[in-house]
């Protein structure tokens, strides 16, 4: 049996209330909200967070044999983005990490390919969706990620068995974005609908046949894609008359593009019971259908942090800040020098610290060093340290301040001295919080972020955020 061993979504903390757009531009008010990646997040960092949650829910010691990362909005071209995720997760150097980037279709493509190969594969799908101000894409898009550890029951308990699937692929012009463009363009939607509907029916029938199922046996039907008219049209034609409605998260998160199919599958599995049959139908330059059945193992499966929890734990960002974060308006720069680009060789010497937040612990005294040190602060032993992975260790704020004059892509910087559970202190930037909302004694957890970009090099490191869930 092959299928999903563990899975997780990551919904960034910030929400843009769609009404905020009409307040500024005097349009018809739209309902609901969309999830917004913070100024220090990109598709790679969103992917890291989802992958951390997915691995936390997987059996201990189950190492992925491969990492596949899919996004339509990669932080780098030429350079692989999956390697930063690989480093943040401390995967072995023999474990390959590959990107599938550019197309929205890449997300379901990575998932499907992982389901049809061997060995435990970590699939990470992630996206940040941009639209021009006041446009439909701006309001309906969302930022988010989802990750799943796919494997055989010999790797670990499979919570959702892959029953089979089918693909329909076709070249037609519906949605496109040329390299360098910030936002997508779309053809008149009626044309795309005429393409998607027959492709969808064809893939649907093929998948059911392969799995030996009839449409009435589907308990949960997920139909998703960025062409919402075709999505609605196809859902009505599939004959899944017994399928319960699935929340497509459009009212809260928005459509997270390449990340959305796995995000919806993850949230659907969160309230599935043993035997629940789930169909995932994805419209993106063709139609992919994937069929799953929840196993008995799902009864004892506990997500590290459920999608529902994250959807409910957001905080609003105002529209001006949203536009600035997305680069849609350029604000006055802080009157401080901009940071230099990071050094590739200095970074190369400190990969474990920088990407995985690994300190060192003095074997004799137990003194924890952040960053890792060769000579101990206590006792003075030299080169007698063991690695101390701290990314998943929560901490408590020992001191906190706000800096209104330091350089930041989104000032002011809120900054805290954090004492980690079990020992260790580090002074870190706080994120996903406003100054004044936190105080000494509050609990925080570490999160992988992009501090700044200089000379096109992204400076990834860890920050702390309040523990909300």
């Amino acid at each position: 049996m092959r299928g999903i061993i563990s899975t997780a979504g990551y919904v960034p903390y910030h929400r843009l209330q769609r009404q905020a757009i009409s307040t500024v531009f005097k349009g018809a008010p739209a309902k609901g909200s969309r999830a917004v990646a913070s100024y220090d997040e990109d598709t790679t960092t969103l992917g890291v967070e989802a992958a951390r949650f997915a691995l936390r829910a997987a059996p201990e010691n189950l190492e992925p044999a491969a990492l596949w990362f899919a996004t339509a909005d990669p932080a780098y071209l030429d350079k692989t983005n999956a390697t930063a995720i690989h480093a943040a997760l401390r995967l072995g150097v023999e474990t390959p990490a590959f990107d599938m980037v550019g197309a929205v279709r890449s997300g379901v493509g990575a998932l499907r390919t992982a389901l049809e190969t061997r060995g435990p594969v970590l699939v990470v799908t992630s996206d940040t969706r941009n639209g021009a101000p006041t446009g439909i894409e701006e309001a309906s898009g969302g930022d988010g990620a989802a990750a799943a550890l796919i494997g055989d029951d010999s790797d670990g308990p499979v919570i959702a068995e892959y029953l089979g699937g089918a693909s329909a692929t076709e070249e037609f012009i519906d949605r496109w974005r040329t390299p360098g463009d910030r936002v997508s363009k779309v053809w008149e939607e009626r044309f795309g609908e005429t393409q998607y509907l027959p492709l969808g029916e064809r893939a649907w029938n093929g998948a059911l046949k392969q799995a030996g199922l009839s449409p009435e046996q589907i308990d949960r039907l997920i139909v998703t894609g960025l062409h919402s008219r075709a999505v609605r049209g196809l859902a009505g034609r599939l004959g899944a008359t017994n399928a319960a409605t699935v929340d497509d998260l459009s009212a809260t998160v928005g459509n997270t593009g390449a990340g959305h199919p796995l995000l919806l599958l993850t949230s659907t599995l969160e309230d599935a019971e043993p035997g629940t049959v789930i169909a995932l139908v994805v419209l993106a330059d063709g139609v992919e259908v994937l069929l799953f059945r929840a196993t008995d193992a799902i009864s004892s499966y506990r997500p590290a942090r459920s999608v529902a929890t994250q959807v409910g734990a957001g905080g609003d960002v105002d529209y001006g800040k949203f536009l600035a974060w997305r680069g849609m308006v350029t604000l006055e720069r802080p009157r401080r020098p901009e940071p230099d680009r990071i050094s590739a060789s200095a970074t190369g010497r400190n990969t474990e610290w920088k990407y995985a937040f690994v300190g060192s612990r003095d074997r004799a005294t137990g003194a924890l060093h952040l960053p890792p040190a060769r000579v101990s602060r206590e006792g003075g032993a030299q080169d007698d340290m063991e690695p101390a992975p701290m990314a998943d260790v929560p901490g408590t704020i020992a001191s906190i301040t706000v800096d209104r004059i330091a350089y930041s892509p989104s000032p002011p910087i809120v900054f805290a001295v954090v004492d980690f559970d079990g020992g260790g202190r580090h002074a870190v930037e706080l994120t996903d919080s406003d100054f004044g909302s936190l105080e000494v004694g509050d609990r925080v957890e570490m999160t992988f972020r992009r501090l700044f970009t200089a000379d096109g090099i992204h400076n990834y490191f860890w920050k702390a955020r309040p523990i909300r869930a």
Binding site: P337, I342, N350, D403, I405, F415, G424, R425, A427
Partner: protein
């Protein structure tokens, strides 16, 4: 610390100090020429009479040639030193030890900083090595802002009281600076203005932060036994103490941001070198590193001028005022002078030079000068990771 010290073996016989200001029309070269010229005149020497030079700057130059070229020193040993905000004090230390060793008869220490050419407000570090990008990017203001709430929580000083305490320190230093023609800011500032100024970082407001200025200061040092050849009123070096911290405060959960261990260590060392047992009564005046008002508050306890947890009361009681029991920063401090990093340490010694010799203008002359000992103190860095320096100088050779 097992430092033997050089008590009464070296004397300062001449000093110079430029006004500290936004010197848009003066370069670092100009400022060094002015401070050294004044020191030469003070001691009745010329540049050729100096056997060796130490020049301190943190961001305005490199190598001894930065001084040899503008002064056109011919075949002289010139050493460039840098130690954050203790840079000028480090130059003094190098020159003093060189004379004490017998290697040279006459040495000069020069400190200089040209800050205002960067185009940015505040200090801008220069020549930072390439890094992995994981270091902090905070300003010093934010780091020192963490001390006030920590101190308040530990000793039961509420937020409003703390605001008054910090404002009182700023008020005092501006009061003193208003009486100093070399100061950058020469106006008194009211408590109201201080308390209602714009917020910079944490609870620190504009007047809790020292300014930024250009400036230079210089001192000429000789063997103590030769001092009276140059002046009737030499200042003898009683103690020089330096600690470069191991940066453990931001890595060790035991550090609580209510004191500076590096400063406490230098104080104990300096008092031992100088034979001071009761600093509160024996020291006539102190110039301390008031880069931010919470720093001056904590320093009072680290130097033993006040018991732990009591400095805030002493500040409010006026103990450290110009007319108080122990005047602190009688020249106006960093608050009034601004902080040309590589010059401040020698600027502080210059105030000791004026006050202990009875040459400070009457309007800011301390009443305690007959105690005969002055302390200067620099810190460079941040709470949890700093360099600390203390000098003690005196009028009498013991």
């Amino acid at each position: 610390m097992a430092s033997q010290g050089i008590k009464d073996r070296v004397a300062i016989v001449g000093m110079g100090c430029t006004p500290f200001a936004e010197h848009w029309n003066k370069s670092a070269d100009d400022l060094m020429i002015e401070s050294t010229t004044a020191a030469f005149q003070d001691a009745g020497l010329d540049k050729d009479a100096i056997d060796a030079y130490w020049v301190g700057t943190a961001m305005s130059g490199a190598s001894g040639m930065m001084l040899a070229r503008p002064l056109q020193l011919q075949n002289k040993p010139v050493t460039h030193v840098e130690n954050f905000c203790a840079t000028a004090s480090e130059a003094l230390r190098g020159a003093a030890y060189a004379v004490a060793s017998g290697a040279y008869d006459v040495a000069m220490a020069v400190g200089v900083e040209k800050v205002k050419d960067s185009g940015y407000q505040g200090l801008v570090g220069a020549g930072k090595p390439p890094t992995d990008g994981t270091g902090r990017t905070l300003t010093a203001a934010a780091m020192f802002a963490m001390c006030a709430p920590a101190y308040g929580a530990k000793y039961g000083v509420d937020k409003d009281e703390m605001r008054q305490v910090l404002a009182r320190i700023a008020w005092k230093n501006h009061y003193n600076g208003a009486r100093n023609p070399r100061a950058q800011f020469r106006r008194e500032v009211s408590m109201d203005t201080i308390c209602n100024a714009p917020v910079m970082a944490g609870d620190l407001r504009v007047f809790d932060c020292s300014g930024v200025a250009d400036g230079s200061a210089a001192a000429i040092l000789v063997r103590a036994e030769d001092a009276h050849k140059y002046t009737d009123k030499p200042l003898y070096i009683k103690a020089l103490s330096l600690v470069a911290g191991n940066c453990s405060g931001n890595a060790d959960p035991n550090y609580d941001y209510t004191w500076f261990p590096e400063i406490n260590a230098t104080a104990q060392d300096a008092y031992a070198q100088a034979g001071v047992t009761n600093p509160r009564d024996e020291i006539a005046m102190a110039e301390v590193h008031d880069c931010f008002t919470p720093a001056e508050l904590l320093i009072m306890e680290d130097l033993g001028f006040a018991d732990r947890g009591s400095a805030w009361k002493e500040v409010l009681a006026g103990t450290f005022d110009l007319e108080g029991d122990l005047p602190v920063n009688p020249d106006g401090g960093l608050k009034s002078f601004g902080h040309p990093v590589g010059a401040s340490g020698l600027r502080m010694v210059f105030e000791a030079w004026l006050q202990l010799r009875g040459e400070a203008p009457e309007q800011r002359r301390i009443k305690t000068a007959d105690r005969g000992l002055a302390l200067t103190h620099n810190l460079g860095g941040y709470p949890g990771e700093m360099v600390s320096f203390i000098s003690i100088t005196g009028t009498e050779r013991g």
